[in-house]
Symmetry: C2
């Protein structure tokens, strides 16, 4: 199995990406293909030669984090993310990891491998494994679609449901709709309509959930539109960061608490590990016809290591085939929502 | 000065509300009027007679947390929140505090005192003082309007701007639009349009901000629609709770960390105080023609105490007059956005 990594993507690329790849080959069987500037990649290696399990596909171009994805990909035909996605399309790699520009990853994937075939994928979605009190849940869309239609959210739920069964081994995943209140009557126009669609589906839909329920572990799959999902994810991250920053500041104020903090270091490390995005490697891009993992823009070597771990498992579980087959099955089981979908002009949009 | 408190509102009413009122009169000059069931209120008192600074306006009815506000207020003409709002209208109280059903507070306020006069308030908004790294910022709308138009968000920003000047003593408040990215091109349809309006206004608009910037203290006023605001607020609360819960669990696992935790107790208390909603008392309902403070549904005595403190200051600062005068002035200064507003059919809606 070969896994491609966009070596030029992310705030800490290529240094941390290369470092993560080198760490990963110690523990995982997959061969890694680093896509990017050969010289810069080699420069990041501590060893003199390239490890046997790692190869490089050279390209000089890459998309910067701040660039507009569409414009950038139109201009840079040899951008590392595009080259990587083409390798995925030709099955020269079986999964692709990028910590770079999210929009560029999505666009590159859509241009090359396209959407899962056989069913009408309305919009790809970005997912994340959200840490919850006792375990974690799959949460989407966390940023692929700033404006969503209720039908998109139903499809996110269906894909999340399959992911939770296959990857998280949950038998009948509980699906929740993120909302401002638990009552059916709560929400904005989109959530009200999405609630309706979800309750008519065959999913194990448990209703509206608030952020507290999400974090408390009330569901296995949480769905929302990409704007709200992104906000919730970033607020959770931001709050955890603020918490740690304040904790450090307050501890520093006297020597007794400094001492106590040293004793508590293992506890803080455990907490950090639980809440740290690097531990999760990255988020699968749902709905495209190939395994594409988006790692955090601030990914470090540990993130990349974990992304390789995730990619390997996704490939082993043959997740794309599962999506394709199970989605078809689920939809054919549900007559009503399907009819509604087929008449929706969004099905054919890119 | 008299401050009315809905004694029946909130998860811990009337016990904690009465307790908070009794605490508050020790430190604040305002007379408190408790609106609710006389017998139940008296039952919560530890003293035999009612303290001189507290009076009761009796009513048997109240709106439950789960009730639909419109239906409830139509049926219960003597609901405590409605009786309280009528006292506010007749100026028998100068401010109103409720930890009860948010929608009922809003509706009751709109029915009685109505909107700030002289300018066309499109929608009232719920605000909150959001703790940030070094201080706090005023953040709205956090739940009054699940669906917002861009014009509402501009008005939220204007009201927030006045609040920050008057209550937080910030000279030229930095106003930020909560968004999924800092670039002007980022966002959903609403934020893109709101960005446009905000940048044409005379506000000190600093552009899009992400949750991290909000929590880091990058702005004095943060605006968003009521759905996203509510989600962000609840996610921040939920994450802080999860953090504390995990910390406690991990600490319990061995005796050394238990000991260290005891030493760190002052630090944890400081952190709790910083992030705890009870410390902020409640959130002003922006846009209605009277001081209405919404305290957290889980308000305890400390919350009510702090809400009284806030109410007293808002009344002293004559915040409603400031809103009325300054909003008129701001809008007359800005020709373009104003013209656009007048042609908006939403202006006259309730």
């Amino acid at each position: 199995m070969k896994i491609g990594i966009d070596a030029m993507g992310g705030d800490n690329a290529p240094e941390e990406v290369v470092k993560g790849a080198v760490e990963a080959i110690k523990d995982f069987k997959a061969e890694l293909v680093l896509i990017g500037n050969r010289e810069k990649i080699l420069h990041c290696l501590t060893s003199k030669s390239l490890p046997r399990q790692i190869s490089i596909v050279h390209t000089d171009q890459y998309v910067e984090m701040y660039e507009n994805p569409t414009t950038a990909l139109r201009k840079k035909k040899q951008a590392s993310i595009l080259v990587a996605a083409e390798l995925l399309k030709r099955n020269e790699i079986q999964a692709l990891i990028s910590a770079g520009n999210t929009g560029a990853l999505m666009e590159a994937a859509l241009i090359t491998v396209g959407r899962i075939s056989g069913i009408r994928i309305k919009r790809p979605a970005l997912s994340v494994l959200m840490p919850t009190y006792q375990t974690h849940c799959i949460f989407l869309d966390v940023g692929a679609n700033a404006d969503c239609k209720p039908e998109f959210i139903l499809q996110f739920a269906r894909m999340g449901n399959i992911y939770a069964r296959v990857m998280m081994k949950r038998e009948s995943p509980r699906v929740g709709l993120l909302n401002i209140g638990s009552e059916q009557t709560k929400g904005n126009a989109i959530t009200l309509a999405a609630y309706e669609l979800l309750s008519r589906s065959r999913l194990n839909f448990v209703g509206n959930i608030e952020p507290r329920d999400l974090l408390g572990g009330a569901v296995d799959v949480a769905v929302t539109d990409g704007f709200v999902g992104n906000m919730v994810l970033k607020t959770a991250e931001g709050t955890a960061e603020l918490f740690i920053k304040l904790l450090k500041d307050y501890i520093k104020r006297n020597s007794l608490s400094k001492l106590a903090a040293i004793l508590l270091r293992p506890v803080f490390n455990q907490l950090k590990k639980k809440l740290d995005h690097t531990e999760y490697g990255g988020a699968l891009l749902f709905g495209v016809n190939g395994i594409c993992i988006k790692s955090h823009g601030r990914a470090d070597a540990r993130t990349i290591y974990n992304a390789v771990k995730l990619a390997e498992r996704l490939a082993q579980e043959d997740i794309i085939r599962r999506f394709t087959e199970d989605l078809k099955e689920e939809i054919s089981d549900e007559q009503e929502p399907e009819r509604q979908q087929s008449s929706d002009p969004d099905c054919v949009k890119t």
